[in-house]
């Protein structure tokens, strides 16, 4: 792997930038592997990367149906935070945030992390009470959180509506939260995994599993059957289909979440601003686009296309908070299929199939968990036992009634 550095960039510049090679190999698929990872999104790539790098697993294949990062890893709004309510969520997501803080160095790839904070706006006295309790819980979990008054918020976000219909009483800020470039995270993990010997196979769709008893012996793909010892399933919006092929069902509903960006402008918005009541979140990317997300569509869908009613309601919410954005042209609007679990927490760990490991159900917030998801899943696969950080997120929690109801507790806007 070519190591990227200032000297390396200057050297290439002097040669007219004609000597750059591909960032990862294009291998031919072998017939047999130690571990097959299904899904070339952030989580799958990170899992393959940590399997090869941290645990020294030599023969790892990563199968991607389309192109790497084509699914939700390239469709999200890049927000990273760890302000979760329950200790199990908090410790997992803060592990992820800490890995993000060192990710550029780890991968030798600039992921453009900008920790400019995330503010959850408060519009009513009741919300203020909840936010105070929430901030206390976050701090008890050892994560940074602070309740700000209106004046402090307006100082950090001067573009906020001066006379909003829903008054801004204050807000909760996590200063270590922020955004990073999602494509860079995908490319960085792909490049790192490939350099450590992982075979990244694109355009290879899984069509079935060969089973013997409660074990998978082979993975049937569009490029033939692969023998393998262990299988990791790290897909979004196909997880119910794949689980069905493996012989079990999941507590997941797949629906649509859309996002959009405006034309790029000079820096006007430093932190990411969320309002759960008005149902919108806004940030500004390093390219200058205002990145907008909001409510999910309510009905089951694999179409990856949001409805206009939601687009309209999200945009009107943005203009309620930031009237000056009404002059901006909307450049792109897109949608991804998101897998929602009953408690809006992910499903990670073992499955009813002995050598199949699952990492799914990320709903609307999987991007922030990519490094920790890969790290803990790689550990889980190697040890055939759940990593301590993800033990509570297992599939069997629904049977035990041990739900992790972050949807209500963490005021997630979905």
């Amino acid at each position: 792997m070519e190591r990227y550095s200032l000297l390396n960039v200057l050297g290439h510049a002097l040669r007219g930038n004609t000597g750059w090679g591909p960032a990862w190999r294009t291998p031919t698929l072998q017939r047999s592997y130690d571990v097959v990872v299904i899904g070339g999104g952030g989580h799958g790539l990170a899992t393959a990367y940590f399997l090869a790098k941290k645990h020294g697993v030599r023969r790892v294949a990563l199968l991607e149906r389309g192109h790497i990062g084509q699914g939700n890893s390239g469709r999200n709004t890049q927000v990273i935070r760890s302000n979760y309510f329950y200790p199990v969520s908090s410790s997992f997501f803060d592990h992820s945030l800490k890995l993000y803080e060192g990710l550029g160095r780890e991968l030798n790839f600039n992921v453009m992390l900008r920790q400019s904070g995330q503010i959850n706006l408060v519009h009513t006295l009741h919300e203020l009470e909840i936010v105070r309790r929430w901030a206390n819980a976050i701090r008890m979990n050892g994560v940074d959180a602070e309740v700000l008054g209106e004046a402090e918020i307006r100082k950090l976000v001067p573009t906020l509506n001066a006379r909003p219909r829903f008054p801004i009483l204050g807000g909760l800020i996590q200063r270590r939260a922020g955004i990073s470039r999602h494509d860079a995270v995908v490319w960085g993990f792909a490049r790192g995994a490939s350099a450590h010997g992982v075979d990244l196979v694109q355009g290879c769709e899984v069509t079935g599993f060969r089973k013997s008893g409660d074990r998978i012996t082979g993975v049937e793909t569009s490029q033939g059957v692969i023998q393998c010892d262990r299988v990791a399933m790290s897909v979004s919006n196909q997880c119910s289909v794949l689980a069905g092929m493996a012989g079990f069902s999941l507590p997941i509903t797949t629906t649509t979440l859309q996002a959009m960006v405006t034309e790029p402008i000079k820096p006007v918005l430093d932190p990411c601003v969320i309002s759960a009541s008005i149902h919108v979140y806004v940030s500004q990317s390093d390219r200058g686009e205002i990145v907008i997300g909001g409510a999910a569509d309510v009905y089951n869908s694999y179409k990856q296309r949001g409805s206009f009613a939601v687009t309209r309601s999200v945009l009107s919410s943005v203009l309620e908070l930031f009237p000056s954005f009404s002059r901006l042209k909307l450049m792109r609007q897109w949608a991804g299929a998101v897998d929602i679990t009953p408690d809006t927490s992910p499903i990670m760990g073992l499955t009813p199939v002995r050598n199949l490991y699952i990492n799914c159900g990320w709903g609307t917030g999987g991007y922030k968990a990519i490094p920790a998801g890969g790290d803990t899943m790689a550990n889980t696969i190697v040890n055939d036992a759940p990593h301590p950080l993800i033990r509570a997120f297992d599939l069997a929690r629904f049977e035990r009634g041990a739900l992790i109801d972050e949807g209500a507790a963490s005021v997630v806007a979905h």
Partner: protein
């Protein structure tokens, strides 16, 4: 956006409706074990393709009905009333 033909009021925008999740989910006997109860309570077919679901015409007649809709194209293939036997079988 969906354009849903309510069997009582005719076609309307989906903003008039409330989504009711999958149709024909059968509650098991109360003597069932935890696994069966979990299946009923949380597990969903989450079908990729034709899917039977319930809709409520909240800002219209206020009545429930069943829809057979393809989740990959959003095409509405069939509409039938609550309590009617699903055309083509009740499986998801």
């Amino acid at each position: 956006m969906l354009y849903i033909p309510c069997p009582f009021c005719g076609p309307r925008d989906d903003t008039e409706f409330t989504y009711g999740g999958p149709s024909h989910v059968k509650r098991p006997e109360l003597s069932c074990n935890d696994r069966e109860w979990t299946q009923y309570l949380y597990h969903r077919a989450n079908t990729k393709g034709p899917y039977r679901e319930r809709w409520l015409h909240t800002f219209g007649c206020g009545r429930w009905f069943n829809v057979l809709r393809d989740t990959t194209t959003h095409e509405i293939k069939q509409i039938y009333r609550m309590g009617e036997v699903a055309p083509g079988g009740e499986s998801q």
